[in-house]
Each structure stands twice: as C-alpha cells, then as structure tokens.
Subunit: 357 residues, 2 copies
C-alpha cells in the first residue's frame, strides 16, 4: 500500500519522477533535433537511478563535478563520465586513475600544475586519459583567459605522457542570446588556432540550464551539460525557462506558528531550503500562496511574510515550496520521497549527497 503526501512527516523533499522524466525527455528531444550530444550534470539529483534514466533517454554519458560523485555513479553502473574539475594532488589523481579503469573517463584542466599532476599519475597507462582545456568564456570562475592560452595548454597536454588533448570545455555566463555568440566566438577561435597547429579538437563541451534551449546558437559546441533542468527551480522559473508545473523537486513543510496576522512560520529553514538566493527576493515559491514571501530563514524556521497576500494559514496546514536552487536542496537530504503525481512511491537515497572530495 502506497502512502499519500499527507502521511509524510515534514519537512521533507519531494521529487515527482513523472515531471523529472518529462524534463529529461524534452531536453533530449531538443538535443536530438539540433544534433547536439547531451551529457547531463548529476549534481542536481545525485541519484544513480535518475542518471541511468538520463543515459537511457539518449545521453552520451554524465557529468560529475567531483571524483567522489563519479565513484558513486560508477558503482551504480554508469559507464561514461566527464569530471569538469581540476584534479589537484596525488591522492586525488590516484583515485581518478582507479576510476578510469572502471569507465570511459575524461577530465578537464586549466593550468600546468594540473596537467603535470595528471600526467604523473597516468604516465605508465596504456590508454591515455582524454583531457579538455577549461575555458573562461565570461563566467569568471575557472578557465584559461584567452584562446591562445587554450591552444598552448592543448599542446602542453599532448607533450606529456599518459594524457591526450581531446577538446575544450566551458561553463558559460548567464545565457542571453549575446552570451551564446560570445561563447561560440571564443571557442571557435580557440578551436581554429588549435587545429591550425595540427591538433585534433574533436569535442567542445558547454553547459548550463538557463541557456539550454539556446544551445544550438553556439554551433561550435558538440555536447551540452545541463544539470538543473532535470528538476527545475524558482531561479529557472524567474528566467522564463520553465513553469511551476515543470518543477519536479519541492519541499513539503508545515505551518508551526502564526505569531501575527501577517507572519507565519514553517518548519523548513536553511537546513532544507538553504540560503541560496541566486539574486531573487525570498527563499522560495509557495504553491499555496505565490504572493507570500519566504522572507527569512534560520536553520529550522522559515518566516512567511503575508503582508502582500490574502492567504491566512492555520497551524498544522501544509505548504509545498519550489526552492530557489534545487541542486543545493538535494545536497541537504539523505533521501527524497519519490512521487508519481499524488502517489508516494518510496524513499530514494540521494546516494551522492555530501560527496565533495
């Protein structure tokens, strides 16, 4: 006998797998249509079952940010992984090598220390490790700063044993139409320089969910890494990328106090919703009252400011919240409740939660 949502203790994280699967299939169809490879980033769900579903839909593999996440996914049978992270230090490179023996693995680098470290760890390996050069095309995080430097690292990679240059990788800025062109021009220049030197640059990997429906506007890109799209969240709603009905992950919470006429307190705080604002006002979208603002969070309390809303809840009422940023919410929960519509199928472990190494 299955449970209903009403029987679940709060606060808890709900994932409607019907919605998640529809999100996976919709983006895969788009990728198929525009002849782009899809390599979903599992940081959003951290659940092997959903990674397998993304592969089954037609993805060429998955993306992980950390080796420890990738280990969880390989343990569960995923066989093609790109780790989009500079791997630093001998212990981590040793783990990477062990992982490379268990799946089709590729990795990135944006500096010579990382390249030398990878080569030392893989030097005596029969099959060299494919390495992509990470490029900063405007996001201002990791990545080489110029196409010329990308070419120089490509040469360096091919000059070291145990590794080989395979292509370019970027995590782009916000995803406006202009950004898509900037990203494309940047990567195109780098690829042209590299190929003019006689090196093959067979793979160009970009990513992001805000810009995912515009991925075809960067034609140099061969594969796209979307993460958040599997669940969607309030940040993507605000950007017009999805509607509330496309959001698979919600937080179920209970009203525990109504201290004043315009203030209600829920039992979900920053330990569940997290403090991620992503530039938004308030900490989530309340289904039952979209004009109520989650104005403050402490660790176990959320404050609903009702001054702009006619909605007046009672102690014991429940609300469902679309968080600002679903990926970090996944990282708070040991398990999520798998839903299909109103039916609770069971508790699904978030197997790669907390994997930061």
């Amino acid at each position: 006998m299955t449970k209903t949502i009403d029987e679940l203790e709060t606060p808890c994280v709900l994932v409607d797998f019907d919605i998640a699967e529809a999100n996976i299939d919709r983006f895969q169809s788009y990728c198929d249509e525009v002849d782009l490879k899809s390599r979903p980033h599992i940081k959003t769900h951290k659940i092997p079952k959903l990674a397998a579903r993304q592969a089954a839909a037609g993805g060429v593999g998955i993306t992980c940010q950390k080796i420890s996440e990738a280990e969880v996914m390989v343990d569960a049978g995923i066989d093609d992984i790109l780790i989009t992270y500079n791997i630093v230090g001998k212990p981590k490179v040793a783990k990477l090598r062990a992982l490379a023996d268990r799946c089709t693995l590729s990795v990135v680098a944006d500096n010579d220390v990382v390249i030398k470290g990878l080569s030392e760890g893989f030097a005596d390996r029969a099959v060299p490790l494919p390495v992509l050069v990470e490029c900063d095309t405007g996001a201002g995080r990791c990545g080489v700063q110029t196409p010329e430097r990308a070419a120089s690292l490509a040469r360096m990679i091919n000059g070291f044993p145990g590794i080989r240059f395979e292509g370019l990788m970027t995590y782009p800025a916000s995803g406006t139409l202009e950004d898509q062109h900037v990203v494309n021009d940047w990567l195109r220049r780098a690829k042209d320089i590299i190929e003019a030197e006689g090196l093959a640059c067979t793979r160009v990997s970009s990513g992001g969910s805000p810009n995912m429906w515009r991925a075809h506007e960067s034609p140099v890109v061969t594969e796209h890494r979307a993460g958040t799209y599997v669940y969607n969240d309030r940040s993507l709603m605000e950007k017009g990328v999805c509607d509330a009905s496309d959001c698979a992950l919600t937080v179920l919470a209970t009203i525990i106090s109504c201290p004043t006429d315009s203030r209600a307190i829920i039992d979900a705080g920053s330990k569940v919703l997290t403090s991620d604002l992503l530039g938004l006002q308030g900490y989530g979208y309340v289904y039952e009252a979209p004009d109520a603002q989650i104005s403050e969070l402490s660790e176990e309390h959320g404050t609903l400011d009702l001054s702009a809303s006619n909605w007046r809840p009672a102690v014991g009422d429940r609300v469902r919240i679309i968080p600002n940023h679903c990926c970090v919410v996944s990282n708070t929960a040991d398990t999520v409740w798998e839903l299909r519509g109103d039916e609770v199928i069971g508790a699904e472990p978030v197997a790669a939660r907390g994997k930061v190494l």
Copy 2:
C-alpha cells in the same frame, strides 16, 4: 600513528577540540559566576561527544531544535533535553512521548493548537510534560506577542491533562545592551502576571551566542542556551564576541586554479561553506590572507578576490577558512576531523547531521 593536517584530502571540516573545550569551559565559568544555568544548544556541533563534554563541564542539560536531533543525543546517553520547537502533528507528538520515557524532557509552545496536541499525546501519562511558553521578545520569529498572551497560554497549559506549565522561553534579538533590558522587561512582566494568578513560573530560558557575555543583564533569566559559542565563527568575530584564535571549526581547502592575477579558485563552495552571509561581505575569513575576499560561491568552487590583497597563492596551496556561520557548515559534513592543535586525532561522525524532523 596520527595524521597531520597536510595529509587530509580537501575540502574538509576541521574541529580543534582543544579550542572547543576551552570555549565550553570559559562560558560555563561565566555562568557559574553569575549564577545562571547553562543549557547548550547542540545545533552547532551535532556531536554527542561534545554534548557530553558540555554536560560534564556543568551544564544542566542540552537544547535541541528537533525531536530527531534529541533522539540521537538520548541514544548517546544525554539525559536532560529541552526541545525549543513547536511540535505539530500526532506522529511527532508520539515520538516526543517515546522520548519523554527515556530522558528528562521539556518542550515549548506558542499557540493553542500545539498545546492541545501535546495534551492529547500525553493525557494518560502519570508524570505531566513540562511546557514553556515561547515569547517573541523582539526577534520576530515564533513566540507570543505580549506578556498577557503568555499568561493566557500558561493558564491554558495547566488546564489540560498530561502537561504542566513550567516557565518562559525566548530566542532574543541581536544582543545589544538595550536588547538585554527589553528582553528582561518583557519576561519580567509576563512572569509577574503569571505569578499574580497563582501559577509557578520556575524557569525562564533565554539563548544566543552574540549576547552570551551579557546574559547577567537579564536577571529574570534562569538558564541560557548558547549554541555557536562552542565553535565560534566569523559572524561572532565581527561582533567582537571572539577572536580568530577562539574559532574551533575551520574549512580546509586547496587552490585549484589561479585564472587571473587577482582571482584564485578553491575547492570549497556552497556545499561546504554554505551561502549564509549573516549580513557580512564574503563567505568566510581566510587565515592565510584576511584581506582576500571569498566573493562568490558555486556548489564546488569558491572565488577568492585578491584585488585588495598582496597574497598570491599557487595551485596546490592550501587555506584554512573560518566560515561565516559554523552551525550550517556542521550540517553539510557527515564527519569532521577532530584536531588537537596540529595533530589529527580522527574522524568524528556528525551524528545529528541532517536531522530536521
């Protein structure tokens, strides 16, 4: 053979137990001096061993925010617990009752729905459950809004079977000298009204770390619940409550990229440091370069803005960071490394991590 910090993989959370124990003892001495009971809030460390150390130092018991946290602590032998949270719904009240059979338990309420629910669950119990009325003395979270309403709920509690009124509880506002007087006046009025009606109000519980050295300025208060003080953090440093050398919890991270002269990237992002700003600029205090600002966090990357600093790290260098808010950092980690100075004693499970029910 013990490890050194240099052998630890990053990112990871370090807790210097020497510093934590000194923090515990210093505040306990203060409480003894001003004749105040100490009931530390375990939300900061979530570790039974440290809860036991707080009790051994002279605390009258501990404070938990959620039943699931209290269950972990009772399992580990802690025997006196105040849960400072409105318990809503039959399943939770049933768990509370089971817990009450295993330790000296008290709880709070700020509304009649909670009071009736507690009474229903405890009605046939020989020994009634002590209940404190939660008062909003200025923090604007939970709590009754007036001393008169506190008195009315005190009467209501004593009118229901299975529960008895024991006193008042507040989580005060920021902790200025003025606030201490406001809190004291508020609680004093409520206690006077309640006692004038012939009810005993034997316990008045306040809390907070920012104001902990001023607790004696609210003489009506009989017990103080400090949480953050056990570790301290950047928010308390900024308030002048502690120095960097009093901070027991730090995050160890590695420089993984130096994309520009004024930008370095560390392998700790919001999955470790969290996005809690607590009104501060930047996401932590970097020991090695206090003038470097952790200007941006994504999930696995932290961006160090070095434009105001002369410090120039290299890829592979390590930094130790005092986070803005140590309590939420504890909630990200399955284990922390127990340090004594530079020596790594071992991995300590954060047994009550993620306990939100």
